[in-house]
Subunit: 408 residues, 2 copies
């Protein structure tokens, strides 16, 4: 018998019949002999509905009050689930953050969990109750309601699992695990049985949206395994583990575990950039709230290099305008920008011991005559920027080239 924390997202509790399905799922886990703590998001659409009302009253609603408002969504879902469980003869209790004692700082809308008082939780567990906790919310030292930011329920679940020394935090979502590539563009993508926190974090930063990053970081720091599961189908899901365990679990020597893409990229290329102009160019972009992604400075002359960087496509206009404003200072020669580029990355904990991977990526893409605009490597990933029109082909070539294709 182990303590299992199960988190169900908004679509998983999006209707009364979905809530009943979740109740059945929990009962199955209880029947397996586990003690279950459930964390819920608000019913799908509810947070947006509340937010829209607040914004009709004030375009920038008071942040403390907005947290008070939004946290009501989870209160509805947890009490409905508890009602459904009790109706099925299961002893269940719903608890809000303040009742659990989920203490956070007071950054409304983006609060961080500081501590969890497990007294009431362990008391309820000892009475064999299923506990249904409101995700996404906490309270600060003055008992104000706080929220953890979008997707914060994942973090609530991981933090509760850590506090209760649970066996694992199970994140139920609408996909049945983490995939070796986005199945929408790589048909032969397959579910990854297990991977490391490091890979999960890098995959998320490179464009794979499965778990909230902060939740993975929290689990990483406390070495709490996360399992990604579908609430719509049966299966083992994907287990996210500490690196040592992930390496031990892995059945292959494949240095690459997944191919991740980000379609929302744009590229800017500045010519004739002097070394001592780079920092003022970056300052100017920072002031315009433009975050740079990949950056490359090429050329031999310290007075006339080529500066290439990628950024989120939504920010391209802001970046161009900001750069236009400083042309008079002769920080660079010409601007060239491309709106339709994509980033494609190979990720794997085996990557850093296999420098050959970079060469292989270049070779694989060259064989299909796909031009690489930019290349960048980190400890466990290698990313290239290509034209968006080549994205699907490139993803399939890399996925196949690194032996990730499923056999069926």
């Amino acid at each position: 018998m182990a303590i299992i924390v199960q988190k169900y997202g908004g679509t998983s509790v999006g209707s009364l019949s979905r809530i009943e399905a979740v109740a059945e799922n929990i009962i199955t886990t209880v029947r397996q002999g586990h003690q279950v703590v459930v964390v819920l998001s608000a019913m799908a659409g509810e947070t947006n509905r509340l937010l829209a009302m607040a914004r009709q009253l004030d375009a920038t609603p008071a942040s403390r009050e907005l947290d008070m408002l939004l946290s009501s969504g989870e209160q509805v879902s947890i009490s409905l689930l508890a009602i459904a469980l009790v109706q099925r003869g299961i002893s269940a209790i719903s608890l809000l953050a303040h009742q659990v004692g989920i203490q956070t700082d007071n950054r409304f809308g983006a609060a961080r969990i500081q501590s969890i008082d497990t007294k009431r939780l362990t008391q309820a567990l000892s009475q064999e109750q299923v506990i249904v906790v409101a995700g996404f919310q906490g309270q600060d030292v003055e008992h104000n309601v706080t929220t953890l930011g979008r997707g914060g329920s994942d973090t609530s679940a991981v933090a509760l699992a850590v506090a209760l020394k649970a066996a694992e935090a199970q994140i139920f979502t609408d996909v049945d695990g983490v995939y070796s590539a986005d199945p929408r563009i790589v048909e032969k993508a397959q579910r990854i049985a297990s991977l490391s926190f490091d890979e999960m974090l890098v995959m998320a930063s490179l464009g794979a949206k499965v778990l909230q990053n902060r939740a993975v970081e929290y689990a990483f720091r406390h070495q709490m395994p996360i399992r990604v599961l579908s609430s719509f189908s049966q299966g083992e899901g994907t287990l996210v583990l500490p690196k040592s365990q992930a390496l031990a679990e892995s059945q292959s020597n494949n240095p690459v575990s997944s191919v991740v893409h980000d379609q929302q990229q744009a590229l800017i290329c500045l010519t004739d950039v002097a070394d001592n102009a780079v920092s003022s160019i970056f300052d100017c972009l920072e002031k315009a709230n433009v975050e740079l992604d990949m950056v490359q400075l090429v050329g031999e002359s310290s007075l006339a290099k080529q500066l290439l960087f990628t950024l989120n496509r939504d920010k391209l206009e802001y970046a161009r305008n900001a750069l236009q404003e400083i042309t008079m200072f002769n920080k660079f020669g010409t601007i060239r920008s491309r709106e339709s580029v994509a980033k494609i990355s190979a990720v794997g904990i085996g990557l850093n011991s296999h420098t050959k991977v970079v060469g292989k990526i270049v070779a694989l893409l060259a064989s299909a005559e796909i031009d690489i605009e930019l290349i960048s490597t980190s400890e466990i990933s290698c990313s290239v920027v290509i034209d968006e029109t080549n994205l699907v082909q490139a993803a399939q070539i890399l996925h196949s080239g690194f032996g990730l294709d499923s056999s069926n």
Copy 2:
């Protein structure tokens, strides 16, 4: 400068534009130099929407969880109002029952307020904040969310007014005060400027639905004035006061202050009832959950009296069935029942020193040839049961006969 508690009901905050109107109303009170504590109900329709969801999951939802669910409605309205106030440059803060420290017993769905910790409230008031408190809710000693029952927000407002030693509790609703009769049937009914708690309680028990009875009782016990006001129009409303103050405020010597009616009555008449059979008849009705209203036992023989009583019309069938079941025990002769009777009452604190009032009621109705089925008097009221078809005429005759008609 005084502390004013203002309570706004569901229709008063039924839409975003209504919430904005309430914000403006509060600002007017603040500009008058008052410290304002606001108590809100859930937006109109919300409690019913939540209840319907719960009942789809379980016809009799777990009471603790139902309270958790329903209390979310007030959380939404208070945070939206606080957002609207802050948007208008007013320092405002919304607070839930557990944040205020509204302690109740643990009768879920019908909890009673036991104490209020004013620490946070006085702190916020000293910072010149408008406080927006969730009505209808409390917490028990184990920090479970409780609710006070339908209309409980009135009680929340009165209890807060008492705890804060406020000048008065203002109950904003969709009528502009308490009327001398229901204006829908007595055209010349007029707003009563002030009346006593006693009158208000009796009026409510006789069918006038303006304030929640428990709220009036609470105010009565603590001698806290309540003012009934419209949130849709300006005006002085009706002030509900201790008897001595009400008598001092009253500008007339009229023993009757209002005419109240209850259209939902039915009448049962049993013949040949022996004195010693009465208690078993009442026991049988109690077991069937039938509450009796007016009761009369007439006749001289101790073996064959006539037992007349009124009851809520919805319960007539239950009562008839229950009585049918005991016919075999010869507790009575025949049953006669009438479904379409109405109760009409004259209420006033001057009534008990004017026994002539009863005679006047009989004479007024007799002059219009309206038969009286039953008559009953209490300290400050006199009620008669008549045929429902005569209700409007009787109400107008009594209202006029006791000099209550408005001159315009």
